[in-house]
Symmetry: C2
Subunit: 198 residues, 2 copies
DNA sequence: TATTGTTTATGACCTAAATCATAAGAACAA
DNA sequence: TTGTTCTTATGATTTAGGTCATAAACAATA
């Protein structure tokens, strides 16, 4: 997360997005650095027959879509506003200038990328080899401990919908619903008026 | 890739690994920066019933296993020598000193992480939503254009075994073999004495 | 050049999760 | 208050890819 002062200093501008508005598409070249100011942005893919995969959901303060900026690559996914949002947009050149002139910020950003790589490595191994039960528990636990940093013994109320969990784990809604039910029966998660507790 | 002079200057040492030897395990804390000197290292996971997933295969010059170093996390996968290999090993503290004192190297490393994040984002979307055919073609094309940087019109001889392709895409060997055959029938890849050309 | 191991190949069969259909409950807007 | 839409729920059916078994082709080693 880059501070607002710093962003403003390097001439970042705020861009407004309506719910479901797309900020950038798959396959285009990256020209800007983005950081969520308000709302929520997701990065996602669709296959030929419309099945969605969610790469990540970014709350205020998170940057997203930086890799193609560094590696001169095209966006592997699109960015879309989950709800009405605004994002800071910084020109690529200014962004690199900012990094050069603020080594501490560069290191912080490297740490963010490292964290994201860790999440992806975890999830891709899950998705490619594990059962729906295992995948969903891993997802829930990852959000609990790494995203929200909630201590093991404390209760965590999952804020994701069944559909979002499906799109994050490569499953189908029905499978998520059935699996969550069965996890409840086993007592590994609780359900309070459809909300998942763990 | 960090130059050998620089590595030596910061007191990196060379570690020798026999084929199949494990350098570090899942779940342990990262204490060193590693870069392949000779041979080939893979990072991989195994699920309960022994199914493997390959996170990446690293040739000489590539570093690997940096994310937990930055983000204070545990290794999400193990590192194992594919063949007899040697790797440079640099103490965590020396590594960060090196980065601070060599901003250009820090930027180069950030680019490496960005590239790897791009690969993972691409593959996880494939694995979670696409057919075996699509997954394998994407894998082959990714290796052709991004790893080996071979121009579109030139022919690429896939150096991966069917088993490795299976472990990189979350499929089973038999499925890879059958799918490659069917891709050959369709004329989208060629087979020359079992080697795949694209 | 026999032997052992690894990789590629193929058929038969089976199963977990996707698909399809339908509906009830919640949330939101008019 | 009544539509409208989104989310959760559940049963029936289908199917793609996994599993199992067996073998040929090839490579590596003694």
């Amino acid at each position: 997360m880059i501070s607002e002062e710093l962003l403003k200093k390097y001439r970042a501008v705020e861009v407004h997005l309506k719910k479901k508005e797309v900020l950038f598409n798959v396959g285009v070249n990256a020209r800007y650095f983005f950081q969520v100011s308000t709302g929520k942005i997701k990065m996602n893919n669709f296959n030929e027959d419309g099945k969605e995969f969610i790469q990540g959901i970014f709350p205020p303060g998170s940057s997203f879509g930086e890799p193609p900026l560094f590696a001169e690559l095209k966006y592997p996914a699109q960015a879309e506003a989950v709800e009405e949002s605004s994002v800071w947009r910084l020109e690529k050149e200014s962004f690199f200038k900012l990094l050069r002139e603020n080594p501490e910020t560069h290191l912080k950003l490297t740490k963010v990328l490292a964290g994201r790589l860790h999440y992806k490595a975890t999830m891709v191994a899950e998705i490619s080899t594990e059962s729906p039960e295992h995948r969903l528990l891993k997802l829930i636990d990852y959000f609990k401990t790494h995203i929200h940093k909630i201590p093991e013994e404390e209760e965590y109320l999952v804020e994701l919908s069944r559909q979002q969990m499906a799109d994050l784990t490569g499953l189908r809604v029905e499978t998520v619903i059935r699996t969550i039910k069965s996890l409840e029966k086993k007592g590994v998660v609780q359900l309070k008026s459809h909300k998942i507790l763990r």
